[in-house]
Symmetry: C2
Subunit: 770 residues, 2 copies
């Protein structure tokens, strides 16, 4: 079903695209304010150590140095999850990872600030360094990373639904395997940058930051700087990508703000690339054990999942990621009985956090590879097995995830048909392979990390006397194109044209609020609020238009900038004339809309979720996709080349199909990176050995495979404009599809990432030996 | 009567004060954007000429020049009064004053732009130059400044109320005199500056400008650039004064925007001081004839007023100023019969426009001097005569100006008592004198220049989860301190503290609207909107607080951040707790308020006002004041020194008494300038001969007299928080009080301004001769 849309569904070019391509977009790093100073952060040279003393007297003597701060000056803990917040602006008393900030300098230029860092003397007392989560747990009695975590575990939780033990006992096919994923970074192009300007008289602080979560940052600044929220304004210039890595505040934000407040001048802090790596917040390495049981007909009866997440030094988004990995096993297949045991462990490495497809990528890798193997055990095609178990519209998981709408089967069918999977799988020459994987993701969250933040989204639409439309929303366009999509939805809801709509966003000092750009929530949540705001305006205008057209207000329709009677369509009047009449007669024309997801009972983030009727992975709806990937494995070098990706996705109604296509392509490259190339590595002291885009291997345009993506016909009737997520789901199938294709090519099932040429060569050698 | 206020009535320091004093405030001129270019305007060297040809090819060849524009590229006419709009961004076809812009350049730096101006060749065909309004009318058949003004008159109007001819016939005392005022400039410290940044992709234009009227500028930019309003954003950095001179757009705004659109880079145009003078928009020189008739008891029976305004080259605010001079004769004295004939004449000089006390200063000078003279004719004190005729609360003028509240008599009494006027007047030694004058001014306007702009003001108040208050209003704090005053009013209305309130203003992209900072309207209009917005929030909170306190919502009072039952005051709860409960339970806490003045029927700005029940000077309320000024006249040099000013003002409830005091002191210096020093002079070709702060004589701190000002006890029960105007009224009495004091000192009545040493010496010499 597809509504008869005019503006939604158009592949309009992104409003910000050409500016960025031409280098004309203004990022925080481009900004220069009068009297602006430059901030730099002194970083620890130990991964775990007591800070005995920091002497910055010599730094202060350097001409051009304006101030030095240390963690003692702002010891309040911050964190995206208030219950587990344990980060500080700069280390206090102790460092927990190599590269942690211990002091910050403001100086008249970057060179002076850099030079001043060298003059800061820090005396450390080294502590044993724990780099592996199992070792970290094992040595917890001897070495403790956080005082309040006696076992070096941030949190451990269990979710039990149904009776998996009983179910396994009755299964015909059982497979149990271990999987391991790598330590990867978002590698967004624009490093963290924050420019803060504190007004010493009024006590107002203005921060321009490269962030996905302006309103969360607003809140965190308030906590760390001990300032009322209404004294702080956070504004977003152009943002060069986030992928979750800007889904929290950064030390750059706090140091810029603290230094600016100290010296009464604007201060800008821009990370070097090695600082982006040093402070990471990328994907959690997971040590997973998964057990899946099928009945004799191939229906999944039970899943048992055990996951140890290597969290690095601080909490960050950790507890959320941890529980998401547990929740994510419940879709896109029907799982009647399930147990998940998850724990997130502290280690002396840069913290792991949120990253595109948060919590889904790791268990998906395990589950989709195992289903591939189970299909082989059963002697059926993986496609057949997955189709058989695939969920459909109206499905409610045993963990109470409700799926109002689902075209997952259509995704599987489409990708299989377009790729010729059934003709190729198991039939290609040695070294060539094809793999299939499904995936899904949430379209928002059911709860907010700060309970008081309700609604999740507010949108204000203003129509000026000429009929120009301005949409005020608080979401963050971090490059994903949400401003473009919002303009389309507002135009659709008002019956005007996309070109008439101007979107203002990313500013905490607008009257509107939004949680931020994460969890693939923006299109759905803003869409709902836009619909409500537009309905208010439409109602106001219809009351005026009725008299002008000569019919009842409830008989009017609006389309293409015209009001007309639905019974006598020739009775019509131009939208502009109605707007003019309204503003002349009544005045300012605005509408306000909100979105709050239905409240879930029984959620307690710190205790996990044990109650029926609640699930941490809850979302108003879900997007689904399937990818079929063809690879060439070079037998001599072990290099895996992705040749072609056939993708079919159910993102509900695509508001901007071209944007969806871009999201799919970006997701695939992202997944390829983790599958084949990317891994942050540390030496035995915990120092990153590849913190540069030279040494950290990203897929580039050279690695781009042929991508054939299809947006399957879909419309979620419960969603605003029928929309669902599209930016995080498509990364889920990429890794397992590659792994399954590699198996198809060379008969080796890889269970740890990345699948490097070394590992492939080694496996081929072993295979030969055996 | 004075309400029991906590926040209103406090002399809190201005939020912006210290920053400005310390040089830390950021003005438009301080801003630098990446890739920013600099714009300069080529100005005409004729006061009246046909532009035969503009050749800028050589300028374009100069390395570093990015673009040149001429008037042909943006010929749409703009003007603050749409019905008389006749200005263009740059002259098209003809120049009408010396210094009018004919072309503009954008270059990589200011020096290059300046150099490029010299390379632009303009060929003129000179026309006769009309510098005097009477000559302009007389030679209209031969020389026409605007094609559509065949008599070189922008507009002429007549207002007739009662039967003045009949009344004069019955008067016991009649005085008829002529007066003339000078051509003066606002001389604000910050010159016009505009920074425009056009985004070539999205077609969005952002303008930072030093303006009093961001929303009008927004509209004018839309007209001149032919862009939809929602593609334009106007934002105000710190503003260094306006005094009416930034109450319209300027060529700087249009040229910056046009150049930026042309080159796709930000462009900043900052005027030199001589350009501020060249483009003026200051006070209209007036050629006035006034006739006043009193009955035998000294009651005014009739006033006949004839005023020819020298308007300069374009319309600007002219028609408004013209009708205001007609309206202003109806207060602060009871005038039962009146006729005003006014006409505003074009001349080949920089345009006159709005300036502090617009339309009031000139007729006030005439009337207060004449009443002084009439008192002498009757043998009574001017004080006695003015008290006798003074209006009181509830007065409605024959022209239908309604005065809901008036403490003018209290002003007269207070100033007379504190100055010892009655003991000094007529009794000081030759060369020393004391003069008295009254005055009044409007507190807003009853109409808007764009009918569709309704309401006149919108305010949105947001309370965050911590109880921080943010007031979104659209007014322009141009240095008069309105943001401070709004914070006080919002705090008062919400029962919180001034320090808790943060005001956001001066941005057309907020959801709120405001006409601008002129006509002493902001405190009244915003105050009304703030009250309404706060009432919405209070109501929402009371409903929650009622359950917490244990009483009915309508029994609750709010004060000092506490809700309490008015019947059992010990039943109370902290405001923050109620806010927290509300935001937890309901969500975002906002309130919206509006202000629209009562609609007047029968106003037609282009035809004048002939109907009863309407008056162009209408305002919801009026402020009043009296000044008694003591002068020393140096008999040898003719120099008049103002020794002491005793002022008493009725501004209703002073929201911030310290700010009112500042406004009074500023007004007095402003008035002294026009009374004694200031005059823009042109040579016979129409070229300004003193366009610099060196040659144009402003009063400085050296001329500052002793000022004893009193805010008389006053509270307008019809006004929000009891407020009335305070920033434009106190300039009204200064000039006539000085003139009356000079008469008291040396027996000479000066009727033309400024009262220079030359004129005084000449008069003393004549006096000796006679």
């Amino acid at each position: 079903m597809n509504k008869n849309f005019n503006q939604v569904g158009r592949s309009v070019p992104r409003k910000d695209g050409p500016l960025k391509v031409k280098g004309e977009a203004i990022y925080t790093g481009d900004m220069v304010l009068p009297r602006m100073a430059y901030g730099r952060i002194k970083r620890s040279t130990y991964a775990h150590a007591i800070i005995k003393k920091i002497d910055y007297s010599k730094a202060l003597e350097l001409p051009g140095v304006l101030a030095v701060i240390t963690g003692e000056e702002a010891p309040n803990k911050w964190g995206i999850v208030p219950q587990t917040a344990n980060e500080v602006a700069l280390a206090v008393g102790k460092v927990r990872f190599w590269g942690e900030g211990v002091a910050a300098v403001a100086a008249i230029d970057e060179e002076t600030a850099e030079e001043a860092l060298e003059l800061i003397e820090v005396e450390y007392e080294p502590l044993p360094v724990l780099l592996d989560p199992k070792e970290s747990i094992g040595r917890a009695s001897e070495v403790r990373i956080h005082e309040d975590a006696s076992d070096n575990i941030l949190h451990a939780g269990e979710q039990l639904f149904g009776d998996p033990d009983k179910a396994f006992a009755e299964c015909a096919y059982i497979l149990e395997k271990e999987f391991q994923t790598s330590y990867v970074n978002h590698a967004f192009l624009e490093p963290h940058t924050s420019l803060a300007s504190y007004d010493t008289q009024s006590g107002q602080l203005q921060v321009w930051s490269s962030t996905q979560v302006p309103h969360y940052l607003h809140r965190q600044l308030s906590i760390v700087l001990e300032m009322p929220m209404n004294k702080i304004r956070v504004t977003l210039p152009a943002i060069g990508g986030g992928f979750g890595g800007k889904g929290e505040a950064s030390s750059a934000d706090f140091c810029a703000a603290l230094l600016s407040r100290k010296i009464g001048r604007p201060v800008k802090v821009t990370y070097e690339r090695n600082e982006v790596f040093a402070t990471n917040k990328g994907r959690h390495p997971c040590y997973m054990k998964m057990k899946i049981g099928l009945d004799k007909d191939g229906y999944i009866q039970a899943v048992d999942f055990n996951n140890t997440l290597d969290g690095g030094a601080y909490a960050g988004w950790g507890i959320v990621v941890m529980f998401y990995t547990a929740s994510m096993i419940h879709l896109p297949y029907k799982v009647p009985n399930a147990r998940a045991r998850v724990r997130r462990v502290y280690t002396n490495k840069p913290t792991c956090g949120a990253m595109r497809g948060l919590g889904g990528v790791q268990p998906r890798f395990a589950m989709e590879c195992m289903l591939d193997e189970l299909a082989e055990m059963m002697g059926v095609s993986p496609y057949e097995l997955k189709m058989k178990n695939a969920v459909e519209s109206g499905y409610r998981s045993v963990s109470n995830l409700h799926v109002p709408h689902c075209e997952y089967k259509k995704c599987l069918q489409t990708a299989v048909e377009k790729s010729g999977y059934l003709d190729k799988h198991g039939k290609l020459p040695f070294g060539k392979g094809i793999g299939l994987s499904g995936g899904y993701y949430i379209s928002g969250t059911a709860y907010t990390l700060y309970q008081a933040y309700k609604p999740h989204t507010t949108v204000l639409i203003r129509v000026d006397t000429e009929g120009g439309v301005t949409v005020h929303c608080a979401a963050a366009d971090i490059g994903q194109g949400c401003n473009t999509v919002m303009a389309q939805m507002a135009a659709e809801a008002l019956g005007v044209h996309y070109e008439d709509v101007h979107v203002v966003s990313g500013d905490t000092e607008l009257g509107t609020f939004d949680l931020g750009s994460f969890a693939s929530r923006v299109t759905y949540a803003s869409g709902a609020a836009i619909k409500e705001a537009a309905a208010e305006i439409n109602q106001k205008l219809k009351e005026v238009a009725a008299g002008m057209v000569g019919c009842r207000a409830d008989q009017l329709e609006i389309k293409d900038r015209r009001f007309y009677s639905k019974f006598e369509p020739r009775k019509a009047i131009e939208w502009e004339k109605v707007v003019e009449a309204y503003t002349n007669a009544v005045g300012t024309l605005t509408g306000i809309g909100h979105f709050s997801p239905p409240r879930l009972k029984g959620i307690d983030l710190t205790r996990g979720v044990r109650v029926q009727g609640a699930n941490i992975g809850h979302s108003p709806t879900f997007g689904f996709s399937c990818q079929i990937i063809e690879v060439d494995v070079d037998i001599d070098t072990g290099r895996v080349r992705v040749v072609k990706v056939t993708e079919a996705g159910d993102c509900g109604q695509a508001v901007n199909p071209m944007s969806v296509e871009g999201q799919v392509e970006g997701s695939i490259l992202f997944g390829m990176g983790q599958a084949l190339y990317e891994e942050m590595k540390v030496d035995p002291q915990g120092k990153l050995i590849n913190p540069s885009l030279h040494d950290y291997k990203l897929p580039t345009a050279m690695e781009l495979p042929e991508i054939d993506s299809t947006i399957v016909d879909s419309y979620d009737p419960t969603a605003p404009f029928g929309v669902k997520e599209s930016g995080e789901g498509p990364i889920q199938p990429t890794i397992p599809a590659i792994a399954n294709a590699v198996y198809d090519a060379i008969g080796v099932r890889f269970t740890d990432l990345p699948i490097t040429p070394e590992k492939v060569l080694k496996a081929l050698k072993q295979k030969k030996v055996n």
